[in-house]
């Protein structure tokens, strides 16, 4: 059994230690908001926070997450930053298919936690690992700035 702290709750899961955190969240803890997109840390759809830092859960073995604080899209709204990001996403009509947006929001929230007034270059750097095939990038950029404004 591996003990985890997920969204403020202690849970134990009976999985092999090499199981990616993504599949523990999705298949064992029914937290399906975190998405599978590539399995190789190339697309960012699986982004979660590990001790507040964004990580690609598809390429993070669950053993590496033991003892750390895991935050997923389902709980990001419990923080002020997360609420602002979600509100901005809705206000700016960001999502299209929506499949990548959990990961986008997790990366955006991590960026805003460090920098509430990010430049375009800051956004490019922080969001470079999150792919959106629907092409919502300009709205994501606008929503991050919008959220920054809400947090100012």
């Amino acid at each position: 059994m591996i003990s985890l702290s997920v969204n403020g709750k202690k849970v134990s899961v009976d999985v092999e230690p090499d199981t990616p955190l993504l599949w523990v969240l999705r298949d064992h803890l029914a937290l399906t908001g975190t998405k599978y997109g590539c399995g190789m840390a190339l697309c960012g759809a699986c982004t979660v926070h590990l001790n507040d830092a964004p990580v690609r859960s598809c390429s993070t073995p669950v053993s590496a997450a033991a003892g750390k604080r895991i935050t997923t899209i389902e709980a990001i709204g419990t923080s002020r930053i997360g609420r602002a990001v979600r509100a901005a996403w809705i206000a700016r009509d960001v999502p299209q298919c929506g499949y990548c947006q959990s990961g986008q929001i997790m990366s955006a929230a991590a960026l805003l936690a460090k920098n509430k007034n990010p430049s375009d270059a800051d956004i490019d750097t922080a969001m470079n690992g999150n792919v959106c095939r629907c092409g919502t990038y300009n709205r994501i950029r606008a929503a991050i700035k919008h959220a920054g404004g809400l947090l100012a």
């Binding site: 803890l29 937290l31 095939r133």
Partner: protein
């Protein structure tokens, strides 16, 4: 009045399974409470029991005693905004309050939910969702409204003409009496459905043409939206399939002993074209598949590489093809020409690469089969699944969930992945519900690509630089051949989807011919966002630019002149050019060695007209940056301008990705690419600024999901020419 039974036993099971899930779901709580007003969680989870005393005047709208207005959407929401656009049409004529509107995916039932532009077929594609629903759903809303008004008039004993409806409130102004839809629902349900209803004029619209918030934004911003990947049924097994490395190969033999020893693996079954590993969860199935040993029978396997295919196409292009269009006497016009230009264009296979790799959930019972899917092609899939499991189509129920993108892929004319899921369920005799999951690699290597094409173009100019003749030969696999659509989409040997955009060239050119070769290749092909226009817009719009330059004409002015009889093409062309400052000098780069250029292109697809002006910077090392795109669109009545803008932006991103990077190549029949490291997606730093301008119009609305996609590549290529003097004739762009 017939009541449509939407809630069924299996759905209740599904809800139960949901409640059983604990962590996180409780905070999201989509199934422990009614969906939030004005939202849609997902096709199934948004569904609720019909409130007793509710009112359902037709197949598209249901009004509950709780005052909810549930719109039954017959089209898939894959990002293009159907779950907002379709309910907008009903809410408009119903005069509902947007906050009381909910959306539910329609079941597979072509008798009620067929796409009016696809005959008897229920499905989403060809940018038709809003267009084919425009009158149907407004009438559905107006009908419901008329019945609510009649119910109120009878209750209050006043003339119906004296009853009005404003934002969900029915009222009799003279007496001040008011009622909600919910309060009138039971009475309205007893009335006869009126045969004729009046629809609003454009001046009366309260939602159409205004900003209406998407119904799915909330659920797609908190993890609650349910995609196929998220479905979990009691006892469900996850299946991964080992597919052959080459198209057309079959399983000869396999050894599953190591696989069966992997913890969590429940079963291994052979399929006609692969071996399925079933496990309690994805990772166990993946580990099991990794240690599977398979010997393939490659007797019928496709073994050509991309270069060999293209060589064959080039040979074919040297011979006359099947005529798709002939105006005047092109052959006779060339000998007298002052100047003749020739150009050859090469296009690779393209994968759709939606963010959600293909997947499908199937539960097979003795006399029924239920499917959960980002369902784009109900009627085709229903028949294919029925055939695969030995049932009748009406015994196959399909639940339409949100799709994490599709770009055409989920409307597979052969129902490939859906049938694969059904075949696995059948192979285990329905012992457990099956969720088929393709990994990214499976998805990218599964074929059903946008075909490879080769185009040969020849143009003739007179002494004044006017285009007097145009000859185009297109070579590429037919998408439609061998599908259920062949009978009415392939005529006289011409697959309309192979030549659309070229055979429909709008320019006034007196002598013009378009010919087609449709060779057969063993690589499965399929429509890809904007279908034929993905290649025809590029070759025609860049070659026209080339002819303009050769004739000493401005590419914008020449287009204007040749489009005199096509006011809607010309309208978007002029709007884009004007907003982009066409003709004014482009600001030069401040970096030494960088060259900048501006290019224009215009194209009609799916009855929507799009023009784009692209501004690019070419760096000294040949690297390209698309800085700005000005896009003008004429799609008739702009039902939701924000969704239209989003589709233009998204279509540009999708088309630009293909223009810059997109290529699926084969080596001896084996696909070279596998994931996003070698099939590159556009990333945020590469996204140009996009400005969208919508032409005001009273024409019936047409689709916006596809038409922006094909225009960006030629606009960018023409901008590269303006910057560097180099012509781009093959995609992806290599400078």
């Amino acid at each position: 009045m017939p009541r449509i039974e939407i809630v069924n036993l299996s759905r209740r099971d599904f809800l139960k399974a949901g409640v059983g899930l604990t962590l996180g779901i409780v905070t999201a709580g989509p199934w422990t409470q009614a969906p939030a007003a004005g939202t849609a969680i997902g096709g199934v989870l948004g569904a609720r029991a019909i409130p007793r005393g509710g009112f359902e005047p037709n197949a598209f709208v249901r009004i509950g005693v709780d005052n909810s207005v549930t719109v039954i959407a017959k089209h898939l929401e894959m990002g293009q905004g159907t779950y907002t656009g379709l309910p907008t049409l009903i809410a408009e004529e119903l005069d509902a309050d947007w906050k009381q509107v909910r959306v539910e995916g329609a079941p597979a039932d072509a008798a009620r939910y067929n796409n009016l532009q696809m005959g008897k077929i229920q499905g989403t594609g060809g940018s038709t969702a809003l267009a084919n629903s425009y009158e149907q759903l407004r009438k559905a809303g107006a009908t419901a409204r008329a019945m609510l008004v009649t119910a109120a008039a009878r209750r209050w004993r006043v003339p119906p003409e004296s009853v009005s409806v404003t934002r969900g409130v029915v009222m009799h102004k003279a007496s001040g009496r008011k009622a909600s839809f919910g309060q009138l629902a039971a009475d309205a349900a007893k009335l006869a459905v009126p045969a004729n209803v009046n629809l609003k004029g454009p001046g009366e619209f309260i939602y159409i043409g205004k900003h209406v918030a998407r119904t799915d934004s909330r659920a797609k911003s908190n993890g609650a939206a349910i995609f196929t990947q998220d479905v979990k049924l009691p006892g469900m097994l996850t299946a991964l399939v080992a597919h052959p490395p080459r198209f057309g190969a079959k399983v000869k033999s396999f050894d599953a002993s190591k696989t069966k020893a992997v913890k969590g693996v429940a079963d291994v079954v052979a399929l006609p074209q692969g071996v399925a590993v079933l496990a309690n969860d994805f990772w166990s199935a993946k580990k099991g598949r990794d240690v599977l040993t398979i010997e393939w029978d490659e007797a019928d396997a496709f073994k050509l590489g991309s270069t060999a295919i293209m060589d064959e196409y080039k040979k074919l292009a040297a011979t006359p093809g099947v005529p798709a269009r002939k105006d005047g006497d092109p052959d006779g016009a060339f000998p007298d020409a002052a100047n003749t230009l020739e150009a050859e264009f090469e296009f690779p296979y393209l994968a759709h690469a939606a963010m959600e790799p293909m997947n499908c959930v199937v539960r097979l019972e003795r006399d029924a089969c239920e499917v959960w899917n980002g369902e784009q092609f109900q009627t085709i899939d229903q028949a294919a699944v029925a055939s695969a499991v030995g049932l009748k189509p009406e015994q196959v129920r399909i639940n339409m969930l949100y799709a994490g993108g599709s770009f055409g892929r989920r409307a597979n004319p052969h129902s490939d992945y859906v049938v694969e899921a059904a075949a696995i369920a059948k192979a285990i005799a329905g012992r457990a519900p099956v969720k088929l999951v393709w990994t990214r690699e499976d998805d990218m290597r599964a074929g059903h690509y946008r075909p490879m094409y080769f185009h040969a173009l020849k143009g003739a100019l007179d002494a004044q630089g006017n285009i007097v003749a145009w000859q185009q030969r297109i070579v590429g696999q037919s998408i439609i051949a061998g599908t259920a659509f062949e009978a009415f989409m392939v005529k006289d040997g011409i697959d309309a989807t192979s030549v659309e955009g070229a055979s429909t060239l709008p320019y006034a050119i007196p002598n013009l011919s378009v010919e087609l070769h449709s060779p057969k290749m063993g690589v499965p092909v399929q429509w890809w966002r904007s279908v034929g226009s993905t290649h025809t817009a590029f070759s025609t719009e860049t070659f026209l630019d080339e002819l303009a330059a050769a004739g000493g004409k401005d590419p914008y002015e020449l287009r204007r002149q040749l489009l005199a009889k096509h006011p809607r093409h010309r309208g978007v062309l002029e709007l884009a050019a004007q907003r982009a400052g066409w003709g004014k000098p482009l600001a030069e780069s401040r970096t030494a060695g960088e060259r900048r250029g501006r290019g224009i292109a215009v194209h009609e697809s799916f009855h929507t007209f799009v023009a784009q002006v692209a501004e690019v910077t070419v760096k000294p090392d040949g690297k390209l940056k698309v800085d700005r795109v000005v896009c003008a669109v004429d799609c008739g009545v702009a039902v939701n301008p924000e969704v239209i803008s989003a589709q233009m932006e998204g279509g540009i991103a999708y088309g630009l990705t293909a223009a810059l990077y997109g290529a699926i190549t084969l080596a001896d029949g084996v696909v070279d690419q596998s994931n996003f490291h070698d099939y590159l997606p556009l990333r945020i730093g590469e996204m140009p600024r996009v400005e969208v301008h919508i032409v005001p119009s009273q024409e019936n609305p047409t689709g916006v999901g596809e038409p922006a996609t094909p225009v960006i590549a030629p606009a960018v290529a023409n901008a590269i020419f303006a910057a560097t003097g180099k012509r781009v004739r093959s995609l992806p762009i290599r400078i």
